[in-house]
Amino acid sequence: MSALLIGFICIGGMLVLIALRCPISLSMAITGFVGFTAIVAFQPAMSILDSGPFETLSNYSFSPVPMFILMGVFASKARMSAELFDGARKLFGGWRGGMALASVSSCGIFSAISGSSLATAASMSRVALPEMRNNGYAASLASGTLAAGGTLGIMIPPSIALLLYALITEQSVGDMFMAGIIPGLLGLGLYCVAIALTVAIKPELAAPGVSTTIREKIIGLKGLVPFAGVFAFIIGGIYKGFFTPTEAAAVGAACTFVIALVRGMNFQQFCEAIDETLLISAMIFFMIIGAEIFGYFLSVSRISFSLVELVEGLGLGPYAVLFAVLLLYILLGCVMDSIAMLLLTVPVVYPLIQAAGFDPVWFGIVTVITVELGLITPPVGMNVFVIKTVAPDIPIVEIFKGVVPFVVSDIVRLILLILFPVLALGLI
């Protein structure tokens, strides 16, 4: 049996395992180990179980993963999200839908110091969701806004997804972060447009807020100061060469740690922050170990190269290849977690994209936006479930209804990025 055939059989087996609710990390590890054994031999397959995980877990480049999570969790414990939302709410004052705009803006700003969409959605929804509902917002708009707003965390740097993409494809982490800024801000802007249009079409979804004076608006801006400070420190530090993107994560975590201490984080909250960080990190590293073992198998099966040859043989143009890949991501995004999807698929599709002549950094941004869609589309939509946890009384269908305008705006953003790659590459 050829290595390629074994490769396809093993991947088919992996999809069956995943569908049977086998943890994604274990599915990748089993497939990698069994496939490698079938193609090479048992003893070499055993060897990858020490060299693979040992080298990956002691790889300095992966150290930002827990640090970016820690940074977001400390920010959450420091109650920075409440102050941020309050400031943004005052800024939008009496506008109809102003609180939804404040929520999505707060999510965007919170994303600037949090590398995780789930952390962003969880932190902001605890603060903003009750406020919006108490002020007469429809449950669908309120919950949909926060579920979608949380996805900004995956694009606006620092982002764990961009970091992992950079590590998998051996791109510069700094370049990936810089490339994420404009698409992230564009996403924020388009979400605001989506809210404005939704409220204009259906005014009953959102009541006008309380008007605020210019003085109140200016005072409210102080909630932004810690975020702007940490973000400017991180991105400025990377840009000016004071520290590497890898070190920036720890520096950022230390900054939010100090802010949390100043704001009275107690020992219990500190321990909760550590526990939360370790749990999310363990989740990601379980998948990284699985992906590492799976990666060895991919190399020996030469599936990626065969796919490239197959696509070349079909005579498909570069954009046909791109759309096929993006369609695959949209479909997978409906059933799979975003980080899992990146770790599982990027090693397979990346050679295809390289062969099609696309810029790897630009493709990373496009991929992450597409993956981001999966966070708010049924049936998996992780951010939707986060909102459901915060507000169990809102039916899940209502939340999915609420995210529709944001899904449309994400698709518009994707089209803009495909038409104008400079939006991603302009800052590099």
């Binding site: 995943i18 569908a19 049977l20 609710r21 086998c22 943890p23 994604i24 990390s25 274990l26 590890a29 089993i30 055993m46 060897s47 179980l49 020490d50 060299s51 995980p53 040992f54 877990l57 002691s58 790889n59 300095y60 992966f62 150290s63 827990p66 640090m67 820690l70 004071f242 520290f243 070190e247 994560a249 720890a250 520096v251 975590a253 230390a254 740690f257 321990c271 550590i274 526990d275 960080t277 370790l278 749990l279 999310i280 990190s281 363990a282 989740m283 590293f285 379980f286 998948m287 059933v335 799979m336 977690d337 980080i339 899992a340 049936p379 998996v380």
Partner: protein, 169 residues
């Protein structure tokens, strides 16, 4: 069995706490590295508090913080796809969950065997890390402890799931 199970749970919890300490330690080591390097550059070399081995401390700190965190959260820290499972009955789901958790036991066991073998191999050659000259066999041996506890914890979790005490979450 239940005494052993409780002991492994306690042990994994202690390791989880150590992992938390390592998390904070890694943060401060990187911070120290950045600050001392900044001072060195700003003072044009007059203030040299830079230290060797920062990268190694962070790298191996990360290794142990991950390997020590995994056993305690072996079932909770997993990502699943809930696509077709609603039609399965609870008992079948529990058996599936037990099989998968046992898969982590096998993975942990295989990794432990390989880490012990690697530890013995590098102990013979006397291999050390580049900057801090830490014997590599220590690093493999400590890693083996993490994966061994992962294997044991997964084994007891799998038994519990099979007995349907916990069910599937």
């Amino acid at each position: 069995m239940s005494f052993l199970s409780r002991f492994v749970l306690k042990l994994s919890h202690v390791m989880y706490r150590i992992s938390g300490v390592l998390l904070i330690a890694v943060m401060f080591i990187v911070l120290g590295d950045v600050i001392t390097r900044g001072l060195f550059t700003a003072s044009k070399g007059a203030l040299d508090y830079t230290f060797r081995g920062g990268v190694e401390l962070v790298s191996y700190g990360l290794l142990f913080l991950v390997l020590f965190a995994l056993p305690y959260v072996v079932c909770r820290a997993q990502v699943y796809v809930d696509l077709f499972v609603e039609s399965f009955n609870q008992r079948f789901m529990s058996i599936l969950a037990a099989i998968y958790t046992f898969g982590f036991c096998l993975l942990g066991t295989a990794m432990t065997i390989r880490f012990i073998e690697a530890s013995l191999r590098v102990a013979e050659t006397g291999e050390t890390t580049q900057d801090l000259l830490i014997p590599m066999w220590w690093l493999y041996a400590i890693s083996a402890i993490g994966t061994a506890v992962l294997a044991l914890r997964a084994l007891f979790e799998a038994i519990e799931q099979f007995n349907h005490k916990e069910g599937i979450k």
